[in-house]
């Protein structure tokens, strides 16, 4: 592998590469300057990434916002972007009229909020305790840590599929355990009706707590050893140490972890889509499901776009906090 020779070796090459932005002499035609700039400051290397993000993410987002203001349905689809202007009527419809699924946008927002917030609330203490429990060295810690990771690594569609069988009425593991313990009669319909939400909730908790665990572990490792030692030497009790040393040091990571976790749960489409039959029960009508079914099953494109826009607007709040809290590395400058 020989490098393509762009500049002759020797002193001349030195002058080529030494040309840093602003330092190079502004000599030659504009074309010569442009090519030199192209070569010495290859900002064009950003073009592929930028183009992909614009075409696949930014333009479609703009289209969704535009579609949500149009009266697009199966009849006007052929002229989709030129469909009659509808103002905020799609939003009004989505909020006031139950979709073909039988739920309104307000209900879906409620389910999504409950689902994402409750999940984060439950998995945070679990994940923290799990991280604390493997911070101490013991025989087999490596294996325990690996097992802790497994639920998070299993693809969501597999978790959902397994949950579908585990929550089977009567013959599933959950009903057998609950029935065996005498908590229920062992004949609960988890996948349809009012219990569906809880089946989905429990599955999400089982599958996602390792995220908090991982973030806590990373946070613990970032705490300088001296802080542990100082508190140990001061004779602080373990409870005091956790409360006054560990939690404050972890608070940055934990807040971020909770924020991110809530964003993911809010956008979880796969679990509800794969876990339940079609159409999913009302308890599983989270926002992504509502948008999907409106668009691709009932062809209410306007409603679907309105739901998608509402989802995006809701997520803008945590997304903004996330962006603000992200510390750009000082070393970048």
């Amino acid at each position: 592998m020989t490098a393509p020779v762009k500049a002759p070796p020797g002193p001349l090459a030195k002058s080529y590469t030494a040309a840093r932005p602003g330092e190079g002499p502004a000599v030659g035609s504009w074309w010569a300057q442009a090519t030199r700039k192209w070569r010495d400051r290859p900002l064009w290397m950003l073009i592929p990434a930028t183009a992909a993000l614009v075409i696949i993410v930014l333009v479609p987002t703009a289209i969704t916002v535009w579609l949500s203001l149009l009266n697009v349905n199966v009849h006007t689809l052929h002229e989709w972007l030129g469909a009659p202007f509808y103002g905020l009527q799609n939003f009004v419809n989505a909020f006031t009229q139950p979709s073909t699924l039988g739920v309104t946008l307000g209900w879906s927002i409620f389910v999504s909020f409950a689902f994402s917030l409750l999940t984060t609330l439950v998995i945070t203490p679990i994940g923290m305790l799990a991280a604390f429990s493997v911070h101490r060295r013991f025989r087999g810690r490596g294996i325990v840590r690996a097992i802790y990771l497994i639920p998070y690594t299993i693809p969501t569609f597999v978790t959902a599929l397994t949950a579908r069988v585990v929550f089977l009425n009567g013959s599933g593991l959950v009903d057998k355990i609950l029935g065996g313990l005498g908590i229920t009669n062992g004949q609960t319909y988890w996948l349809i009706g009012p219990h569906a939400y809880w089946a989905m909730q429990l599955t999400e908790i089982w599958a996602t707590w390792p995220f908090i665990y991982l973030m806590t572990l990373a946070g613990l490792q970032a705490i300088p050893k001296e802080h542990y030692e100082a508190s140990a030497l001061d004779g602080a009790s373990k409870a005091q140490r956790i409360r006054h040393v560990i939690i404050p040091e972890l608070s940055g990571v934990l807040k971020l972890a909770m924020l991110l976790s809530t964003i993911f749960h809010f956008g979880n489409f796969t679990l509800a889509f794969v876990m339940f039959g079609s159409p999913p029960p009302p308890g599983a009508e989270v926002l992504p499901i509502a948008a999907y079914y409106n668009a691709f099953t009932f062809f209410n494109f306007g409603d679907a776009a309105a739901i998608a826009v509402v989802t995006m607007v809701i997520l803008m709040v945590p997304a903004y906090i996330y962006m603000r809290s992200t510390r750009l590395a000082g070393g970048l400058n």
Partner: protein, 319 residues
């Protein structure tokens, strides 16, 4: 970008914290006696109790899933799952019951291609982002974070419409081919890959590429021949995360692929939906297919545990 981006959003900014430290991820320091006392965050009994409870909560469903995958279909449906009637038959017959092999090949093609493209594009973007100061550089990095939080359902409908529009306008077949799904997954992999590579590339000394430039490499040549080999660990991590986008996604694949190009996730989803609607409860085979779909990902995670976990967790550490 829905669940596909669970990992995506998780890691954002700022991996290797100590700039200049070349071991990535950093190894844990070995501790002395004082340190191990200091590591004891919970009383030993509580720590043990937590470990036992968590292991039970994780392993019982997993074990049950494995057990079901070795149990005949009708026994699973009837709830008769025990160690008494084990058979590997499910792992044999599932391939002919559902188009799993085809789905697996499609997933490997789609996820593999999109991940490779994603890393290449991210590598190119990371170079100017780390090597040159220009207006809007920080804004660009922030935008990459913001983009990750846009929900997939916002993009699905217009993307579908755009691809259909291109299809009718240029009369090139689009929906159902590999092209739109690869392009989509590739793009979803770019923000995280770029962040991971930017964080790592900052630790690569500039002398290295400047030496290559002096030797007559072009900037792209320096990136490909000198920086890329040094960055291999980060490239592998970025590739794996981008690969998982394609392996795990259901949302986009359910709309952009057809019967010939469907991914493993879609093959399995349809398998489960059909087996219920058709009244033929092939739960045993469903579970064996689930095990086969999850095993590669779980094994990859466990093999590359240290790297992936670091990329995932340290990726979102704030100040």
């Amino acid at each position: 970008m829905a669940q596909a981006s669970a990992a995506l959003g998780a890691a954002g900014p700022e991996a290797a914290r100590g700039a200049g430290r070349r071991s990535w991820p950093p190894r844990q320091r070995k501790g002395s006696a004082v340190q191990s006392e200091a590591e004891l965050l919970l009383p030993v009994w509580l720590s043990r109790l937590v470990v036992v409870l968590v292991l039970i909560a994780v392993l019982v469903p997993l074990g049950y899933m494995l057990l079901m995958s070795f149990t005949p279909n009708y026994d699973v449906a009837a709830g008769v799952v025990s160690f008494a009637v084990l058979t590997a038959q499910n792992y044999v017959s599932m391939w002919s019951t559902a188009p799993l092999a085809q789905g697996l090949v499609n997933t490997l093609i789609i996820a593999g291609t999109s991940a490779a493209l994603s890393v290449a594009v991210a590598l190119m973007a990371a170079y100017p982002l780390t090597r040159f100061a220009f207006r809007g550089r920080h804004g660009y990095l922030y935008t990459l974070i913001g983009v990750q939080t846009i929900p997939g359902t916002t993009l699905l409908l217009p993307l579908f419409a755009v691809f259909s529009w291109v299809q009718t306008t240029v009369s090139v077949h689009m929906i159902g081919t590999y092209f739109p799904i690869i392009l989509t997954y590739m793009t979803f992999g770019v923000p995280l890959s770029t962040w991971l590579l930017v964080a790592y590339m900052r630790t690569v000394p500039r002398d290295l590429d400047e030496a290559a430039l002096v030797d007559g490499c072009s900037q792209l040549g320096a990136l490909a021949r000198v920086i890329f080999p040094v960055m291999l660990p980060a490239v592998v991590v970025a590739f794996l995360f981008a690969f998982l986008v394609g392996w795990n996604d259901v949302l986009f694949a359910s709309v952009f692929t057809n019967q010939n190009t469907q991914t493993l996730a879609i093959a399995l989803e349809r398998f489960s939906a059909n087996s219920e609607e058709g009244g033929l409860p092939v739960y045993g085979q469903l579970m064996s297919s689930a095990v086969v779909s999850a095993a590669p990902v779980v094994i990859i995670y466990l093999i590359f545990q240290r790297y992936l976990v670091h990329g995932l967790a340290a990726g979102s550490v704030t100040g």
